[in-house]
């Protein structure tokens, strides 16, 4: 039988303990990652009153006041030209707008990036929808828009009905339905992407 030096055995145990320590730490961190709320759940609480806010309207560089609950449903989208998924959302909104599906809903695209970033994204350049720049950081905090894209459906009474990410036409459909208090099982015709292009 081969005799293994005692020191070698001890050293191997120490190395094994070191590796075990690493595995435990990694496992704990994995638990934190999987146990955390996904970013798309960081929006405001559903059923709460949507706060009013000021924004800089990009088209004429004037400061406007948005007052959810003024009788018109509003669909807010926190997006940024530097965010790739936001471009998809804005394009989906544009297609829905072209199909006339947003006629009864006011859509406001809110950015926090500098205005000179807007030309970066074709979707932002080409959309006819209203784009506003958030004036105060408190607006972002009030809507808990910690990550973009974040869409927020607000009904005509100013109550938040749905929040979350949106990147496809089907997502836009769901948000519009929430604004209009249309049950999710009822169809709202929005032209698919392939037809609009």
């Amino acid at each position: 039988m081969v005799k293994v030096p005692v020191y070698l055995e001890v050293a191997q145990w120490a190395l094994l303990l070191g590796l075990g320590f690493l595995v435990v730490i990694m496992y704990r961190q994995l638990g934190r990652v999987f146990g955390s709320k996904p970013e798309f759940e960081h929006g405001p609480a559903i059923g709460s009153q949507a706060p009013g806010f000021e924004y800089l309207r990009v088209s004429d560089r004037s400061v406007q006041l948005a007052e959810p609950g003024d009788g018109q449903p509003i669909l807010l989208a926190f997006v940024n030209p530097t965010c790739q998924a936001c471009g998809k959302l804005v394009a989906a909104f544009t297609r829905a707008h072209a199909a006339g599906d947003l006629d009864s809903v006011r859509v406001l695209l809110l950015i926090s990036d500098p205005l000179n970033y807007l030309p970066i994204s074709a979707a932002f350049r080409e959309t006819p929808l209203e784009i506003g720049q958030v004036v105060a950081r408190t607006t972002i905090n009030a809507y808990q828009a910690s990550a973009t894209p974040l869409a927020v459906s607000v009904d005509s009474d100013g109550v938040i009905r749905k929040t979350g990410p949106a990147a496809e036409v089907s997502d836009v459909r769901a948000f519009v339905q929430a604004c209009l208090l249309v049950p999710p099982d009822k169809e709202l015709a929005i032209v698919p992407a392939s037809h609009a292009d």
């Binding site: 020191y7 070698l8 050293a11 191997q12 190395l15 303990l17 320590f21 690493l22 961190q29 990652v33």
Partner: protein
Amino acid sequence: MNQTAAAAKACVAVILLVAGGAKLADLSGFSATLRLFLPRKTPHLAIRGSAVGVVAAELVLGGASLCWPGGRWLNPVILALTCAFVIVTAAGFAIFRGRSCRCFGALSSKKFDLLSIARSGVLVVAAGLATGRLGPTAALSDLDSALLAMASALLVLATFTAVRALDASATNLGRT
């Protein structure tokens, strides 16, 4: 053979390897900690150089101590290094209490506190125990040393990867 000395020597060596690998993966974080202890006008290059020096010292001493236990000259050097850790943590506790020491990169968020001094003290005790005579059974063959060297390299690599992964996931969790 003094088994306590062998165990202490191996444990201190593994801790040095893990600490070195973790600091290597978070060199900028460790440099920021080091900056606290250096004069304000110290150039960035000197700070980064010092950080690399500390990391290299930990890796080389840890690796050499683990793979070549017969080298008795290493023991006082490692003992001196662990004593330096105690001095640094005590100074950190006195001047920068509550600040993160980044001693193990993202593996640990331990701060300069009394517990950190106690931990460094335990390391000094272990390094002291490791200076004991190991006896002839500690004389490893070249193959054994090579095996331990490879395992050490793997441990450092695993630590490096773990720190980078933890750092990335922590950044993602805290993104605002």
